[in-house]
Amino acid sequence: MAGTFLSNKGVKWAFLLPALAYLMLMAILPLVWTLSLSFTQWDANTMPKPKWVGLGNFEYFLLKDKRFAHDLRFTAMYVGISVSAELAIGLVLASLLSQKFKGKNFFRVVYLIPMACPPIAVAFLWRMMLHPDIGVINSILQAVGIGKVKWTTSPKVAPFTLIMVDVWEWTPFMFLALLAAFQALPEELYQAASVDGANGFHMFTRLTLPLITPVIVTISLIRAIDAFKLFELTFGITGGGPGSSTESLSYYVYLIGMKWFKLGRGSAVSWIFLVILLVFAMLLVSRFKSRELTVKAR
């Protein structure tokens, strides 16, 4: 550690404080405020001031509200299936394509498109294509003899429609991340295994998979945290329907707080949501903690 870098205390805080202060003010303070509101009833349309109700809101969501329970189940199912499917497809594609081939850069650019698009544009374009009567996908399915699918009009199908769009949007990310991870693997190991007579399948299950498992866990957690915040696809494709079959937690919080203006209830459900995500966030953060990330100045 060089003394020069350590000596100037003023400078190091002057560099760090603006960002810290901004986050305190714009991220922590609002969350504390939400917590204090969560013990109140404040229907802003009819009540000028919040009224203290203690744990009433938490009791309502955790014990009574069937809609919250449903939305939590739907969101969890959405995250579980989407992330597993993206991982599985990404893994198959990446293991097929890990060697160099012509036009790799072309394909890389194509696969970047879904994740660069505004999610709300993705949602509305799919809503258009999946229209039950005049959408292009049902027209094609009918032309090849499969018939129309009730993509957004059946409460049984609609949740899987959203999952399909999520898979469209994020499989390329999994694929490209895994491809990069594959290419970082030490080649000598494979040469040695090949000399020892291992076949491709063995190399994949005994060598590749164990080596990239840490990467798989990290990117799956990142993806799961993101998918848990599902909002745009619900908003754009189904509006939460039919019924509330595709209503995500984010969408429910949005409805309670910003559409019905029940600010107390909305704050409580925000915090429940936050705590659920915190579990995933801690898992992810602990992975980054174990990674070597030290101060570089010697």
């Binding site: 020069t4 870098f5 190091k12 560099f15 603006p18 960002a19 810290l20 609002p30 969350l31 405020w33 939400t34 509101l37 293991s95 097929l96 394509l97 890990s98 160099k100 081939f101 650019v109 696969y111 970047l112 498109i113 879904p114 660069a116 698009c117 505004p118 709300i120 374009l125 005049i134 292009v136 094609i140 032309a143 469209w168 991340a177 990069a180 991870a181 290419q183 970082a184 090949s194 491709g200 190399m203 990290t218 990117i219 990142i222 848990f228 745009e232 754009g236 984010s250 910003m258 925000s270 915090w271 949501f273 936050l274 915190l278 953060v285 980054f288 990330l293 101060v295 570089k296 100045a297």
Partner: protein, 287 residues
């Protein structure tokens, strides 16, 4: 050097199958965007039909584009302007704050709270659900009389992008050798000078990458803008949502507006192609 992992050396027939898989996956990935591009050149009546080939199956027109840039010109240009201003400025602020904080965490030692704890705490701010802060933000913006004002949207977008910006800049600076700055400091150069004239230029590629990534996130953001920029301060994503009317979804309109909103971030992502995965995996995977 040819790297082959997973499934050993491939016969020509295997390579052909791989190529077919790639093409099919690319077609599936491109289809919605291509379909939107086609639909944006259709008349309203044609836009509800499954026709693909212009001139042969439908008569291409500029109807949707004229609607966007002539009939509802003011609205479109206002949204476009807001999108550009909000993304440009909010990413600039989060880059500046992020570079300063990232640099300090990479180069100085913090004693009371360890560098890593501070960095991870900042990173964890990235993970909480945006809806959790809607209510307090709404009350704050209402009190500051900033509802439907691009300043409110920018403040929120800075908060959204800052944690990632700090984290990735830390990652960049930590990868760069500190020798030159140290030498300069020993020669009597000030800390500020060392940062602005030595560290920043070396980290230029990282700065550009983080800026562009923040720009894309800000450009694409929808939830906060619908609430804090619903009309005057509306951006393109909110305008896209506006193509859903009581009559239903105007296919031609949602197509042209989506194409308009998709082009800038996709072009930026292409320039950033290698960094995008690094950024989205929070630096866990470096290409």
């Amino acid at each position: 050097m040819i790297k082959e992992h997973g499934i050993g050396r491939r016969k020509p027939i295997g390579a052909a199958i791989v190529f077919v898989v790639l093409i099919l996956f690319a077609a599936w990935t491109l289809f919605p965007v291509v379909w939107a591009a086609i639909t944006s050149f259709k008349e309203p009546g044609d836009s509800y039909k499954a026709t693909f080939i212009p001139y042969k199956q439908f008569k291409p027109t500029l109807y949707a584009w004229k609607d966007a840039f002539v009939t509802t010109r003011d609205r479109t240009l206002n949204s476009l302007k807001n999108s550009i201003i909000i993304s440009t400025l909010s990413s600039a602020v989060s880059l500046i704050l992020g570079a300063l904080a990232g640099y300090s965490l990479a180069r100085y030692e913090y004693r009371k709270w360890k560098n890593k704890d501070i960095a991870l705490w900042i990173l964890s701010q990235r993970m909480f659900p945006p809806v959790a802060v809607l209510i307090p933000y709404f009350l704050i913006m209402q009190n500051l009389r900033l509802l439907d004002n691009i300043a409110a949207v920018m403040m929120v977008h800075i908060t959204m992008n800052l944690p990632l910006s700090v984290w990735l800049m830390l990652d960049f600076f930590a990868d760069l050798p500190a020798d030159i700055e140290e030498a300069a400091l020993i020669d009597g150069c000030g800390h500020m000078k060392a940062f602005f004239y030595i560290a920043l230029p070396i980290a230029a590629p990282g700065l550009v990458a983080v800026y562009v990534l923040s720009f894309i996130f800000s450009w694409n953001e929808f939830l906060f803008v619908t609430i804090f920029g619903y009309q005057k301060a509306m951006t393109l994503p909110v305008m896209i949502a506006g193509s859903l009317t009581v009559r239903g979804l105007d296919f031609w309109k949602v197509s042209s507006l989506s194409i308009l909103a998709i082009i800038p971030p996709v072009i930026l992502a292409m320039f950033l192609s290698r960094f995008l995965v690094r950024g989205l995996t929070l630096g866990a995977i470096k290409e």
